[in-house]
């Protein structure tokens, strides 16, 4: 078995334009971030942009900051709307980096002609969530552009949080050791397949519903009891669970083995995935996280997860091993194995 050759997007492909794949959360996004943004922006090594929320210090206070832009078609879907994503997504990025979310800012880019009633619904959702979670929206901006320049409504939110004294390590995951277990906080693929079904007119009975949810309460319950047992946390958004695992193993002497049998997927999601030829391991989630934790604490962490509605269906899905360093191996139901790579390109419905 030979070593994996990294994708070389800048070498042989057309690099003159941005393609949708550059935003899909897989290898192409990765290339863009590493090859362009991080290279140019990270002047100070202490201000490294981290994949979730980046650490920085002001007046001796350890803070975390994250920013995320939200574009989704359709804007309203089963289980939420773009406003739900804009609040939950940013708060989740702070929470999984071991921070206590403190404040949000938001920027709206609106298309001329966008219905005010829709905007009201979106803003109401955001206000309700921010109030419920105790994370105020403290600054905002609005721009309106000509019809056709954006698709209805785009939102950017930035979140600031205080780093927990005991949890600064969970973002990098460099304290993970062999034998640790990989936990997924709920069934995968609900959000991505809800969106794709809506776009293609599948799932007429609206059986599917996005998993978008704030994870902070659940995370803080876990960290209050098990801060040192939790070695890594990451929300499994674009690129799905497989991509999170692939990102973690990159350049490490350890690898991850996932057990196909243990991967939680709802029947309805599995069905639509089969029809469209899509692997749920790569489908986006908006309220699911991957936790790597000490095996001794795994059962307790699972039961904490299970005590929250958004952690229903949480399961141990794999272990950290050193047999295949830097690789994610999927052990199939039948005992055979295959490697998982990062999502490449966006997931498209296939016929064949």
């Amino acid at each position: 078995m030979k070593g994996r050759v990294p994708p070389i997007i800048y070498m042989n492909s057309d690099r003159s334009t941005i393609k949708l794949d550059h935003g899909s959360g897989g290898t192409q996004s990765h290339e863009l971030i590493e090859g362009l943004f991080r290279k140019r922006f990270s002047v100070n090594q202490n201000l490294l942009m981290s994949p979730d929320a980046s650490p920085f210090i002001i007046g001796g206070q350890k803070l975390r900051v994250t920013t995320d832009s939200y574009v989704v078609d359709p804007l309203f879907f089963q289980g939420g709307n773009i406003g739900t994503l804009a609040v939950c997504g940013t708060i989740n990025d702070l929470a999984v980096s071991g921070a206590v979310p403190k404040a949000l800012t938001c920027g709206f880019i609106l298309e001329e002609g966008f219905p005010l009633s829709d905007l009201e619904l979106i803003v109401d959702t955001m206000a309700e969530l921010s109030k419920r979670l105790g994370v105020p929206i403290i600054a905002g901006d609005t721009k309106v552009v000509d019809k056709g320049k954006v698709d209805g409504c785009f939102i950017n939110t930035t979140g600031i949080g205080l780093e927990r004294e005991d949890s600064g390590h969970v973002s990098l995951g460099d304290q993970v050791i062999e034998g640790d277990v990989v936990i997924l906080s709920g069934p995968m693929g609900d959000h991505g397949m809800t969106i794709m079904s809506a776009r293609h007119g599948l799932d007429l009975s609206h059986q599917l519903s996005s998993d978008c949810a704030p994870l902070y309460a659940m995370i803080s319950a876990i960290l209050n009891e098990h801060a040192s047992d939790v070695r890594f946390m990451r929300d499994a958004t674009r690129g799905g669970v497989a991509t999170v695992c692939c990102e973690w193993v990159e350049d490490r002497t350890l690898g991850i083995e996932l057990m196909e049998d243990h991967l939680p997927v709802r029947e309805s999601v599995r069905g639509i995935c089969e029809i469209l030829g899509i692997d749920p391991l790569y489908v986006a989630n908006e309220g699911r996280m991957v936790i790597i934790a000490a095996s001794a604490a795994a059962d307790r962490i699972l039961s904490i997860l299970h005590s929250f509605p958004e952690g229903e269906g949480a399961a141990i899905i794999g272990t950290v091993q050193k047999i295949s360093p830097s690789r994610v191996v999927l052990r199939t139901t039948f005992g055979s194995s295959r490697f998982l790579s990062m999502l490449s390109g966006s997931q498209l419905p296939r016929i064949c």
């Binding site: 039948f334 490449s344 419905p349």
Partner: protein
């Protein structure tokens, strides 16, 4: 899921594997000619379960992989027309043409839309009367009737701005071409869903003329293993024949309604297969009744000169002569992110399956 999970039962998988191990003595090479089989074999890790006597090969069964580059160039030329909406299955969008791909054209403003069902594209044509909606008709026997239905619907409802660019293909001529090229195989794992439409009679020449086993197979792990077991039985007893493992969804005569609809709309023509070349009467073009829906005849385009990338051995891979890892471009110049050859583009192309799962 009913009628899926039953065929993924791991105790039955184990039993089939040990039965295969027990009776397989002579080394054999079995070729599947369906991308769905390629994917399933990799996804479920089936080759790993088999004894070393059985080698599985992937043949020209992925419609994306065998679609001629000239066709992609034609589709790209259409996409460059400002009054054209290119409608396609998701599979085709990243396939490289001579200098571009549909994805690249879309990033530069072309209207390229992905559909799950071709009849939805007819609706888009109705909603956009000033645009020409061109559906990229690819696929084998299974998909052709669904495209034929979209054409019939557009014809009956006078949707004059709905067109199809047809690259539909027929499976048996390619299976014959593989053998005629002296590619050594002992048996075919025949494509189940193609057979749901065509029936199983289309394979009779393979055992009769060529002494090759032909087992029509479903797509779940148990289906594939049972088909392999049937093939091993046939070959060990030296009695190759057509057998139907997938009888729950394949009737011997196939789907006569679908066959009737296809022959109403399409007629066989000679066509090019990427990597193989021209195969007589292996493609389908629209009958003259539906001339107004033929993209080639109604929309004038400027197709760029053909430029084939050198070093790519997709052709040999499609014919089962070489493995993806034999290609100098594999995982170096040609990757899933930047496919050079079609076998890397489609998830069910042999190279992509290797790249994603085995490498």
């Amino acid at each position: 899921m009913k009628w899926i999970d039953e065929f993924r039962d791991k105790t039955i998988v184990k039993a089939l594997v040990s039965e295969i191990k027990k009776i397989s003595k002579t080394p054999i090479r079995l070729m599947e000619v369906c991308g769905g089989h390629t994917m399933a074999i990799h996804r479920f890790g089936i080759q790993q379960l088999l004894p070393s006597t059985i080698e599985l090969l992937s043949g020209p069964g992925c419609p994306v992989c065998v679609t001629d580059q000239r066709y992609i160039d034609h589709a790209i030329a259409l996409a460059r027309h400002t009054d054209v909406i290119v409608a396609t299955f998701g599979d085709l969008i990243r396939v490289p043409g001579s200098s571009s791909s549909l994805e690249k054209e879309r990033s530069m403003g072309a209207d390229v839309r992905i559909f799950v069902s071709p009849v939805d594209a007819v609706d888009v044509a109705k909603e956009n009367p000033l645009k020409k909606v061109v559906f990229l008709g690819i696929g084998f026997e299974t998909t052709t009737p669904t495209i034929a239905m979209s054409i019939l619907q557009a014809y009956n409802e006078d949707v004059l701005n709905y067109y199809v660019l047809s690259a539909h293909k027929i499976m048996p001529p390619a299976m014959r071409a593989i053998i005629d090229e002296n590619i050594r195989i002992n048996g075919y794992i025949c494509p189940g869903h193609v057979s749901s439409i065509s029936g199983i009679g289309i394979y009779s020449e393979f055992p009769e003329k060529y002494g090759v086993s032909a087992v029509v197979s479903g797509f779940e792990p148990i289906d594939i293993l049972q088909s392999i077991l049937m093939s091993v039985h046939q070959l060990e007893s030296n009695k190759p024949r057509v057998e139907n493992q997938y009888n729950r969804f394949v009737q011997p005569q196939g789907n006569l309604v679908a066959q009737q609809i296809v022959s109403t709309v399409f007629s066989p023509i000679d066509t090019y297969w990427r990597g193989i070349g021209m195969i007589p009467l292996s493609g389908l073009s629209l009958n003259s009744t539906f001339a107004q829906h033929i993209a080639e005849q109604n929309i004038e385009v400027d197709i760029e000169p053909l430029k084939i990338s050198s070093g790519c051995i997709c052709g040999d891979i499609l014919r089962g002569l070489k493995r993806p890892t034999d290609c100098p471009l594999f995982a170096t110049v040609c990757s899933k992110e930047n496919p050079v050859g079609a076998c890397m583009v489609s998830n069910e192309g042999a190279c992509a399956a290797y790249y994603l799962y085995e490498q």
